[in-house]
Symmetry: D2
């Protein structure tokens, strides 16, 4: 394996936030990534990490970063990093990530800012690592053209949950035609301080700003292909060969971690697959990330529960450290074809873990150079 023995220095932007803390917890035990630099706002810069952060993880702060000095998010502090992870606020992620790319750094971002960029792949690592093929064009068309810098984003947490089983189903049964999704999303999805407790104890908020649009749009980019025009330029086809209509309804619920989603799908193919065929296809689905050996990719991309009342967020969100997706209750839908329940850990595969697998993949494939 390419990485044998080799270590890669990585940086974390937004290191004090909810996603940033998860990055740090995960990277502290990583086989080949080594945390080298931490970035956050001016409020935090200059302080040792333990003073800057309001640590909310259940494991203690990894000793390697406790006293590491937090930097401002400027490329000069991250020049030695082969990989830069970003858990930045969308308010600032746009400019900062751009400046890092310009400094020839490889940026793996959780922010939404570049997800709709026509040259930035939106990669859920259990689904569409093939979209890395867009990177050369992203570098070439950049002003000025870049040698090593690029931005890769991963999807919104609620998109991730649904796109994994949909990808599995399309691989097995061909295009999906329509899909209705109702989410029940954890409070950690809103960061910290995030959702006021007065809004969510003994309550549900049937609305999350911008969330439904994200699911409806991002899913098309991720499940779609890349086409090459007559001018040689590649574009994301947004699943237009076989239009896919998606309708999402998003709810915030009093759960700490783990987004639960009720999904109904209609296949283009008639007759549609049976629930049993769907179960088998989901269980059999494997990701290229796992196959090529990304250490954080889960063995079970989709774990299919047979019990009638699973998956449940509290019991299932930490299965495989939250790196896979759990599906249960696969059954017929009287309106579309098949319905089921998905659970995805919004902070793990829905955020930090996706970025890390994406970076592992880029390392293993030689897309990230490494200034070793």
């Amino acid at each position: 394996m390419m990485t044998s023995g080799k270590q890669y220095k990585v940086g974390v932007l937004g290191a004090t936030g909810t996603v940033g803390q998860r990055f740090i917890a995960l990277l502290a035990e990583h086989p080949f990534f080594v945390i080298h630099a931490l970035g956050a706002s001016q409020r935090s810069a200059g302080k040792p990490y333990i003073k800057a952060v309001n640590w909310k993880q259940t494991q203690p702060i990894p000793s390697a970063v406790r006293e590491m000095i937090v930097q401002e998010c400027k490329p000069e502090h991250f020049q030695d990093c082969a990989v830069v992870f970003s858990g930045l606020d969308a308010d600032v992620a746009g400019d900062i990530e751009q400046s890092f790319r310009l400094a020839e750094l490889a940026v793996f971002s959780n922010a939404k800012n570049y997800r709709r960029d026509p040259h930035v792949p939106l990669i859920v690592p259990l689904v569409n690592t093939s979209h890395y093929s867009m990177i050369p064009q992203q570098r070439a068309l950049h002003q000025p053209p870049l040698k090593k810098g690029f931005i890769v984003t991963n999807a919104n947490c609620s998109t991730t949950g649904v796109v994994v089983p949909l990808a599995a189903l399309e691989r097995a049964f061909g295009p999906i035609e329509s899909c209705i999704i109702t989410t029940m999303q954890a409070i950690s999805g809103a960061g910290y301080p995030g959702v006021p407790s007065l809004d969510i104890v003994d309550n549900i908020v049937p609305y999350i700003s911008g969330e439904e649009e994200k699911i409806e749009w991002e899913t098309l980019k991720i499940l779609g292909g890349i086409v090459q025009g007559d001018d040689g330029l590649k574009t994301f086809d947004m699943h237009t060969k076989q239009p896919l209509r998606i309708s999402a309804s998003c709810n915030r619920v009093p759960v700490i971690e783990g987004h639960t989603e009720c999904v109904s799908v209609r296949f283009a193919r008639r007759p549609p697959p049976s629930p049993q065929q769907v179960r088998e296809a989901l269980q059999a689905y494997t990701s290229e990330a796992y196959t090529i050996g990304c250490p954080s990719a889960p063995r079970h991309t989709v774990y299919v529960h047979e019990e009638p009342d699973r998956p449940q967020p509290r019991l299932d969100r930490d299965y495989q450290s939250g790196a896979g997706v759990c599906v249960g209750r696969v059954r017929q839908c009287r309106v579309l074809d098949i319905k089921f329940v998905v659970l995805a850990n919004n902070v793990a595969i829905g955020a930090a873990t996706s970025s890390i697998i994406n970076a592992e993949y880029a390392v293993l494939k030689g897309i990230v150079g490494g200034q070793a």
Copy 2:
């Protein structure tokens, strides 16, 4: 008005349970119903109500029932009651309610046992009071034929929430063709002790036994009509003139009271109504129960929220004492036509309040005699 000044004695079966307690709280302030007899299991019978009940309401036990002796659920203890409300467990409701009907009592039941009976109307009082027309046949075909006894049921709590707006939409825009529903149901819907706290704190259970089938079946009976065969016999048509396909996914969430439901509908009529037309139709919808003066029927059958993040169970479940239904987020659905969020108080309009309005209606229409 028929009832002016007249008081009607009523009995409550299952008086110590979650629904039974709500009956008692509501009836204690009723303009013309007077609690006369309370029934529960042998464990409770013979005790004063205050000793028999594990009172869980936020108002104190009404003084009129504190010392009332709980009876076994035998018709002889309820002979003076013009109306008998039942909040019995499904385990025992079948036999007990039958024995009460046989004793010429008018039974208004929350239990599921007779909902699928071909002669028992399943009445959501804000929707299908017209189904009272089945009562004469129910009495006539009973062995032996009855003069006054009958059973009326109301719907399952999650059915009630969805059937009210669907009825409003069908009245305004003609038949609905298909409907996908995802519920987020309160723990009080499972009675007491009901849902163990270890199952629901920081969690969601994406399954409620039998619930999806209830919504999918009951809705058809309620929204359907009554047809008369060549033999003169009436039957419920189960909405077969225009088949209606319903698909429900039911979830238990950590909310005490108030079921929230995300609903997508497709109309038969093309083009479908716009979101604004839907909003207006919902807002304009009135029930016959309110029109003829049932005191517990809500002025706003459907309250339509304009705010983007409403209805919410904690804030909206007590509006109009929980007797109406709240709808919000009416908008286009990319797969079906229109989607929206419904909130219904499962213990009020979803249970006790429905029975009470049904009985008020029966009194006002002279269907219940009253042994005054």
Copy 3:
């Protein structure tokens, strides 16, 4: 009664906050107070109330204030108000309340700013209305001396809960010598947005900044007397005639409304009263506010529960609209003398209701003039 028929115009400062909203809900149904003016920050000023507020109460916004324009918190907008209630943030309450007093307005404040002022009475209306005797001196010593303006504060919500039963016990059995209190405080006590949900779902925070000091200090001022020095000046004696040692431990718990407190006390008198004597003394305790007819004062100042597992916040916080205090589990303490559990509604008697009863008392006693 002095107020018969007469209406008093009142203003509410901080009208958009958690306490402010409760003021408005309560005042909308008040027999003699009429909401005349609303004040909040510049963010809110100039908007109709319904646009300025993020209404979080379970009842709808009272129609009388929906369209009322929110003002900046300047005295000129409140000149016609006989009474001004303040639910202002402590950050700004100091200056604003002072400017209102200077404008000869009667201010009833929930903020902590003037609670330790040697001329401002800290009045829990179920306990120490006698401290109104400090008002003439407050006016006289003000620079410049005032004719009508004054400030009265009520206590911190957790102080209120404990001081009512302590007052009852001191009235019956003489001085208390020491008292250990552990609180379990509702999230609404921190205002809105207040406690982040990530901090409190499935959790307890065993610390509330400044809260323990407030209980330990305020209780002494409230339960203490007023003494007159040789110079004729009155001072609060801080319970020094018989020193009272109080030790408080404060916790935030995932409860929406209602502070629960476990209290152990030791009496000076030996032998101490028995649990049964304590129960009787608590039950018998009446407030002068109730006796002279304050309409918001509760009939049961202290409601004593006999059940072993009460009071509970969800079930008991709305008893008497939250205007009284509930006590339960009165029993022997093996270390001090007697221990018990108190429940007080932090937003009602712990905040808005106290201010309102204080103002009712001032009106009935002629302390507030009324510009009628």
Copy 4:
């Protein structure tokens, strides 16, 4: 070390319960205990474990026990076990554990039945392993006398939390004279189904049957010594050399795991130690179980938090796999001497982990023979 390489077969009684499941999760990874037999009620007996159990842990069922057949709790099925752990219901634990002891088995029990037995040590392994000295007498006085059989119990979960820091303080500063404790206990402490969700969502229950008595009594047995009478018989002295008065108030709170306790203590010694001295003594405290090498004993017996708002159950309950105790907010108490907050994982050190360390200790000390 005595155990090097050697494996010990163990059985688990009540293997399907809350504590039993935790036993299984912990034992599945144990260095020298191997699960050999599982026992539960007749309802479960004869079924493979996976069918008998309603598994509620966040890790999957260990593969080694998935298909193991659950037995009735009869000694013949456990004859090969060097150690038998019991997580039985108190209703049945008395007779079953007695029959196991009689069959010469070593029983480590969580049930309360034998905690008050004058010959059964009540051992919190971080505190009083010296009480193992009672075992020979327990065997000798049994009718008939036993060679190998015995029963050791561990403490109630809320006792465990408080007794560890009290032991540390007594070791450093001599006897404690009095102690007031208020607990906020997790729902998992009541087993499954345990606390109904309707009782605890948005609520506190200020009462747990029998719990206060357990804390007040068990603490004396654990912190006390063993004295030998003139007749040569040993008895537990219940801390009578220096009487210790304990007063506990117990509350159930909506937290899944981890009991939080607010503790105030008064030392016999005058002047009492300072908060800083207390902090140091707690931090320095080590258990014999750790010193002699029990693999499940925590390195930090007591972890002392410096942050003002810790420990918190959600963040701290899994530190050291829940095997230690966390203390925070050490400060002066105005009534007694010192107060602080304790957090103990009720299912780990409060139950299964204590039994396991007790058994490890017994193995390492040769008290348990092992039929190897």
